[in-house]
Amino acid sequence: MLAATLLQAVMSAPDQQLIDIGLRLALIGMGTVFIGLLILSVSLPLVKKIAEGKKARLVAAGSEVTPAELTKHEVAAITTAIHAHLLRINKLEDMKLTWEMYEKPYSPWRMAGRSKMLIDRTSFRQRSR
């Protein structure tokens, strides 16, 4: 039945002019898409140049240390150091955050979740994925 419907639809094909319009639309449309993305793709290396031009001044003197040379442990060490440094700056703020995170353990809107926790207390959710 589906096939019949489709067949019948194709049979009563629209006149040539409509198809011509469709073909032209397709040509212009496909052309514009290609031209647009082509111009974009040739302009992206320019973007890179502009960006590098700015960076060049910064790294002119010494050779930039490529991060690729860092070992996993060095990465961890640096991250921790930066973390600790910034932590000190933000200490008071963090304290407040920590503090307030536990501020209202029996809020009414958290009750539903809490009662579920009580039910599921000793069980873990099994996830199939």
Binding site: V33, F34, G36, L37, I39, V42, V47, A51
Partner: protein
């Protein structure tokens, strides 16, 4: 006497047609699901359940299929539209239904640009910046749009309808909805459902076509690792890309403007909180309402038509053609590329967009033939280019076809 008159007036004026004989359980049941259910509703509800099942079990685009699936169920639960406005088109006594108010975001074209804002704020264009020639794969895959447009004309749709149906081949839900809302609002439901369904089914539709059109050797080909992209490049990209694309296809200003605006919020480094909300809560809220609304717009009485069937057939066709277009164009490009610059043609399939599912399909297919071959990063480039490409195509159609 006066009291009686007052009461009579009250009864007739205030309770409308309510009278004792109407208020009985049989009449109530007649207006409930028991009296209102139709076979069409049942079919649609089963379709909604299948979508939810696929989303949860198979992980096919759950963020879209679950809202749409439940929306289909909610939109097809039987009710008497003369008593209370519920459906997405209902207005009764000046009161719009809530589903109609939700649907306004779809029918007005408001939601798609907001989704694009969120997509921009969560998309990393590094892969594309790293290998600009892959942009062309995203262009090639848009052939699906225009062949479907021609096919729709053959099946008897008018030019506006054909344009809107064609955009399904762009494999971009929001773009399809945006174009349909302007060009062919009466087909919006079917077009949206088709677009999102096939986006969910990308892992089913694409692989056979990809295998058909490539040799074993091609599928095993490894590509050069992508280069590191600097932050300045990433900041410049959305602005320059918007200039070029909007200049060439002004009809795409709304969609691409929001896409690149979102991306600038992400990459600028000084508007983190805006980018977070654009891709977080705002995006989630719009996804919920858009998906659910699209679902409710499949009320059987309007949706189950031969037009819908044709649209589904054309949609499947367009996805297949788009995939083939991308893969074949990659092979065509290889004629001009040498050595390790040659492309793995599988990557072309990601040009249909359906971000990021089709890129994932490429990765999975590639690794079937060589466990160590990671194509994901390379596939992301045509993938996001496909989004831009179908927005340009939409812009051209919106400009050229009067509506």
């Amino acid at each position: 006497m006066i009291l009686a008159t007052r009461l009579l007036t009250a009864l007739t004026a205030n309770t409308g047609e309510l009278n004792l004989s109407n208020v009985n359980f049989a009449s109530y049941l007649g207006d409930s699901g028991f009296g209102q259910i139709e076979i069409g509703n049942v079919i649609m509800i089963i379709m909604g359940i299948v979508m939810i099942y696929l989303a949860i079990k198979k992980d096919y685009e759950p963020l879209l299929l679950i809202p749409i699936g439940f929306g289909i169920i909610a939109g097809n639960m039987p009710y008497n539209p003369d008593l209370i406005p519920i459906g997405y088109l209902d207005v009764l006594g000046g009161q719009q239904s809530v589903f109609k108010m939700f649907y306004f975001g779809v029918s007005s074209g408001l939601f798609p640009p907001l989704i694009f804002l969120g997509i921009g704020a969560m998309t990393d264009f590094s892969a594309l910046l790293s290998n600009p020639k892959l942009l062309l794969l995203g262009a090639a895959a848009q052939i699906g749009i225009f062949i479907t447009l021609l096919g729709s004309l053959f099946l008897g749709f008018n030019i506006q309808e054909a344009a809107a149906i064609g955009i399904i081949g762009g494999a971009d839900g929001p773009t399809a909805i945006f174009v349909a809302s302007q060009m062919a609002p009466h087909l919006l439901g079917a077009i949206a459902i088709a677009a999102y369904s096939y986006m969910g089914l990308v892992p089913v539709i694409q692989p056979p076509i990809m295998r058909l059109l490539t040799t074993d050797e091609e599928r095993r080909r490894k590509m050069k690792p992508t280069r590191h992209v600097s932050q300045t490049e990433k900041i410049l990209f959305p602005i320059i890309a918007f200039f070029i694309t909007a200049f060439i296809a002004p009809g795409a200003i709304t969609l691409l403007g929001m896409l690149f605006f979102g991306n600038l919020l992400k990459e600028s480094g000084v508007t983190r909180r805006l980018a977070d909300s654009a891709q977080g809560s705002l995006n989630n809220i719009v996804v919920i309402l858009l998906g659910f609304s699209v679902g409710t717009s499949t009320q059987a009485r309007y949706f189950l038509t031969t037009d819908s069937i044709k649209i589904f057939v054309l949609g499947a066709l367009s996805f297949a053609i788009a995939t083939a277009g991308g893969v074949l164009f990659a092979k065509f490009m290889n004629l001009f590329l040498k050595g390790d610059n040659k492309l793995n043609p599988l990557v072309g399939a990601a040009g249909v967009s359906a971000v990021p599912d089709s890129a994932r399909v490429v990765e999975v297919e590639g690794r079937k033939y060589d466990k160590s071959n990671h194509l994901l990063m390379h596939a992301m480039a045509p993938n996001v280019a496909g989004v831009i490409g179908s927005a340009i195509a939409a812009g051209v159609l919106l400009s050229m076809v009067p509506h």
